[in-house]
């Protein structure tokens, strides 16, 4: 058993697993990693195998996380471009990093990509609440005490028992930029947006506002109006694009409220939400319309392709040029 001590939580560090499902009846939202792709690879690189999509890891937003381990553990850092250091020496992301007892791992501040995942071989040992360890601060559920990680928090990890050192080849890594095209599966109240309003929504460029968090990303740009003032409150799925009366779209993310009464034009494809959640205020967003059939084909292709990607075996301590 190894202990992970949080020396500094940075801007926002949260324990996350795949998310909380089947608990909407209590009004509990899903939580889970904002960028499930980076989360998945962090766990894969720790050789967490079948649990790669679900083992508990740390989601660090923007940067500043600093932690120390009291025994040898294996970790991997994936996601946005936060500089990683071990005991002050630069270390790579996207590969297995063996840590020794007393080592300190630190994430600097990101300039591109706002979320990083720090996974641990064997996963972090956290007591699940409502079937999940995902932290939803707004609800006070999951993680440790339902709260973000704080200085002095300790979490149990597995001691390094040896295992492969892995690296995701650079060509297979997500490419983070300051721009994202979000494919929208149209639906919900789409028919209550005129053709002209739909065209405006799909042909305009929007900017990520300062009001972007785990609940949702508020965008700024040409306002879109629906013919509805409001609707009877209804269930909101991940990625739903809500249009409030000011016409500025809000893309609802993992910590969204589960029901709401604003009209929605459809929902962003989950694969593209991972890209959106890596953006920062001022970054640009476009929307592209797709239908349910195309969405299914894209998802199947993506997951089938992902299964074929095998990380490279590397020597411990390997650093690329």
């Amino acid at each position: 058993m190894a202990m992970v001590e949080i020396l500094h939580p940075g801007l926002l560090s949260l324990l996350q697993d795949a998310g909380r499902f089947g608990q909407h009846r209590f009004g509990l939202t899903s939580g889970g990693p904002l960028d499930p792709e980076a989360f998945y690879w962090a766990n894969q690189l720790c050789d967490n195998g079948a649990h790669a999509g679900s083992a508990t890891a740390i989601e660090a937003s923007i940067g500043g996380l600093k932690l120390r381990v009291d025994a040898p553990v294996r970790v991997a850092v994936t996601g946005g471009e936060m500089p990683v250091t071990i005991n002050g020496a630069s270390a790579p992301r996207w590969q297995t990093l063996p840590l020794q007892a007393g080592d300190t791992l630190e994430l600097g501040y990101s300039k591109l990509g706002s979320r990083c995942y720090v996974a641990f071989a064997g996963g972090l040992q956290v007591e699940p609440q409502f079937g999940s360890t995902a932290t939803v601060v707004r609800e006070g559920i999951g993680g440790l005490r339902g709260a973000a990680l704080q200085k002095g928090d300790t979490i149990i990890a597995s001691t390094d028992t040896g295992g492969p050192c892995l690296r995701l080849p650079p060509a297979r890594r997500p490419h983070y930029t300051h721009r994202a095209t979000l494919r929208v599966v149209t639906g919900y109240q789409l028919e209550h947006f005129s053709r002209e309003q739909q065209r405006r929504f799909f042909q305009s460029t929007y900017e990520v506002s300062e009001r972007c968090d785990r609940m949702g990303y508020r965008l700024l740009g040409p306002p879109v109006q629906s013919q509805l003032d409001g609707i009877l409150s209804e269930g909101i799925c991940l990625g739903a694009v809500q249009i409030p009366p000011d016409g500025q779209p809000i893309v609802l993310l993992n910590d969204r409220q589960t029901i709401g009464g604003y009209p929605k034009i459809g929902s962003v494809l989950s694969l593209d939400l991972a890209r959106l959640a890596q953006l920062m205020p001022g970054d640009k967003v476009n929307f592209a319309e797709i239908d349910m059939d195309l969405a299914q084909r894209i998802l199947h292709l993506y997951y089938n392709f992902r299964r074929t990607i095998t990380p490279d075996l590397i020597a411990p301590g390997f650093t690329e040029e």
Partner: protein
């Protein structure tokens, strides 16, 4: 009723069933009936359900089943001819300490409605409410519908902090705040019954489709039932 229902795409792994365009006990009962049938029909392909006033959001696993198959399951559920009624849910009684001290909007609401405070308290207890939806926050149950005479819009400026247990009215809905939170509903009293306790089983005293009756208690009974005084409510 089938003729009024409509299945619409909501997202890559979500279909939403609309049962009508208004809130009513009959429509809500149909939502509930369908929500009860789907888990068995869909088995592991069902991820979650979100029932609301007149809709049911069905979340499925897109890697294990096709949307057309989900539509088929939904249609099967909608065609089910087992009878159901709008009084199928459990009746839950919730005690409320109504007073200007525990409900700072009680007097304003009475004035606005042209009623006395006692009349407001009587009318709020006279209705058997239905749990239409649970959301906004864990354990927040939307109850409807309050007597038309008590219809009151949300506050122009929401409170920064509504205390746990606050009993509130907005439009024709009423609710008990399960935890301290910001909120814009009109506060008329305090309920000592915890509406959401993650460490208890069950975590909530009510489920969607249940019926709720409020009964007046006084300050001492509120305290005896474990109610916590929130301090001054601004």
């Amino acid at each position: 009723m089938e003729s009024q229902t409509r299945i619409q795409v909501a997202g890559e792994n979500a279909l939403i069933i609309y049962f009508g365009s208004v809130a009513s006990a009959a429509i809500s009962a149909h939502v509930q009936h369908t929500a009860r049938l789907l888990p068995e029909l869909m088995g592991p392909h069902l991820i979650d359900l979100i029932p609301s006033y007149a809709s049911l959001l069905v979340l499925f696993d897109p890697l294990s089943c096709e949307p057309a198959q989900v539509c088929h399951w939904i249609e099967q559920a909608l065609e089910d001819e087992t009878s159901f009624g709008d009084t199928d849910g459990t009746l839950v009684e919730l005690p409320v300490w109504y007073s200007p001290e525990s409900g700072p909007d009680l007097e304003a609401l009475a004035t606005g409605a042209g009623l006395s405070v006692d009349e407001v308290i009587q009318l709020h207890q006279a209705t058997e409410y239905r749990v239409y939806a649970i959301g906004f926050a864990p354990g927040f149950a939307y109850l409807g519908e309050v007597d038309a005479r008590l219809t009151t819009p949300r506050l122009a400026t929401p409170r920064r902090r509504v205390p746990q247990g606050a009993v509130a009215i907005a439009d024709r809905q009423t609710a008990v705040y399960p935890a301290p939170s910001p909120g814009g509903w009109n506060l008329i009293g305090l309920c000592p019954t915890p509406m959401f306790n993650p460490h208890a089983s069950p975590s909530m005293p009510v489920s969607v489709g249940d019926r709720v009756r409020f009964t007046a208690i006084d300050r001492q009974q509120f305290l005896d039932l474990g109610g916590q005084l929130p301090g001054e409510i601004r």
